[in-house]
Symmetry: C2
Subunit: 270 residues, 2 copies
């Protein structure tokens, strides 16, 4: 999917909501556990109930890998279902990969070719040659970790290097990489005040913002400081939506929570 | 496996060689492609021919994920084969994972419980709460990326923060984390001169050193600067061993290359 197509979808649906499909068998409605593939059954119901309210789905690969082959199959079925039924939806493999050059190419093939995601999250620690293999794929997007939403973000990301925080060095340096127009960035919503400074470095890039909802970010603040002329934001919510209920009505409850966020976004987009 | 058991294996086998099982279907002997599971057939032959010469196997997950379900199944079969036939071998999932707390727990379960690896490589960018969930597993080891062997290591890892390089901050800070005795570190062999400084910060930890062989590191230099009283080194070689031949004799050729390194290590251990 091109960035232009993504922006058009946002304007059409009046939503820049990404829904995180982080499936924990201990949290999904117990009646689903009798199904042949409880993870896929859960995802399918969530997708059927929310696809008109969001513009992206973001499965975090950890939650699938934890269930081994069964989990990986459920991930494969989920992405295929989205791509076949709702090809207009932007898909994010939240995998936080990154390795030396030829190995990153293998990861890129796994997520962009084998699973056919539109984007993948990548960790910057190993630098240029660990990220550029992802950037080489046309109309695919590499979402680089910059400032994450967890407490550990303050261990290294916000440390100052030559007068500039490490996460800003990541932004500045990554702009010089080949095909950097395929970059987006992860910026945690718990630090909305940082967004204005971030926008001075990367005015045009899309930002994937986790942490609205369960992790405590505020939608209005994020939009005030982070929005650009192309919207430029993908706001993700996972647990706040998909675990709104763990009873038979879980999909409707998820849709209600998604609708609340979508309406708040529509207000901002007007 | 405990660290003491690992050290005992090293002394017994006179080897601290780790063999990287980075399987590329374009590089394995063509005659294996007719087998039902070429990746596992290749790994099994390599393991059968080299297990007495090495103390660890290190599959890089990228090379398995690139082949989807088929690849993940081959990884599962490979680790099961090693654990059943050679339980004395230390196993490393070279996965370079790392995510916010509860998500890292899912990754830890995937590699330590579901796949039953002894260790997993983890990226430090997201800080303490992204690593501690791995450290909570008893007799399992978390191998933190410190200074990697690729050119991109100079993009962020060697930048100076408050008078100290980022990778040294990673070493110093990670020592304060809960269960930090379960930490090992990745240190690239292309920078053997750094090892003396690294040993001042982490005298007792095991170091996983990639890049001897294909990536140009020198075994003698690495041992001179990096060895400690418990040996403290796992030297990895991947392509230099497993792709020594792509003909029918590939396993014997791999064993020959492994033997060369093992003999050089035995000389150093005397």
């Amino acid at each position: 999917m091109t960035t232009e197509q993504l922006v058009a979808q946002i304007r059409k649906k009046k939503s820049f909501l990404s829904i995180g499909l982080d499936i924990d068998l201990n949290k999904i409605p117990p009646h689903l556990l009798q199904e042949e593939d409880p993870i896929f059954s859960f995802n399918k119901a969530i997708i059927d109930a929310t696809h008109h309210l969001c513009i992206a789905y973001k499965p975090n690969t950890a939650f699938y890998e934890a269930y081994g082959i069964k989990g990986w199959k459920a991930l494969e079925k989920t992405i295929k279902y989205i791509n076949q039924k709702h090809p207009e939806i932007f898909t994010i493999a939240d995998a936080k990969r990154g390795d030396i050059g030829n190995t990153s190419t293998m990861y890129a093939k796994a997520f962009f070719e084998d699973l056919a995601f539109d984007s993948v999250t990548v960790a910057p620690y190993m630098g240029k040659d660990s990220v550029e293999p992802f950037l080489a794929f046309e109309n695919k997007h590499t979402i680089l970790l910059a400032l994450t939403s967890n407490p550990g973000a303050f261990d290294f990301q916000t440390k100052t290097v030559d007068g500039q925080e490490v996460y800003k060095q990541v932004l500045v340096t990554s702009k010089t990489w080949k095909n950097s127009e395929n970059l987006m960035y992860v910026v945690g919503a718990t630090k909305a005040e940082y967004l204005a400074e971030i926008r001075q470095i990367i005015p045009d890039s899309f930002l994937l913002v986790p942490g609205v909802g369960a992790q405590g970010g505020n939608l209005q603040d994020v939009c005030k400081y982070g929005m650009n002329k192309n919207i430029g934001l993908l706001i993700n919510s996972s647990r706040g939506i998909i675990y709104a209920s763990n009873k038979e009505d879980f999909a409707e409850a998820a849709a209600e929570k998604a609708k609340e966020l979508q309406l708040a976004m529509a207000d901002i987009l007007v």
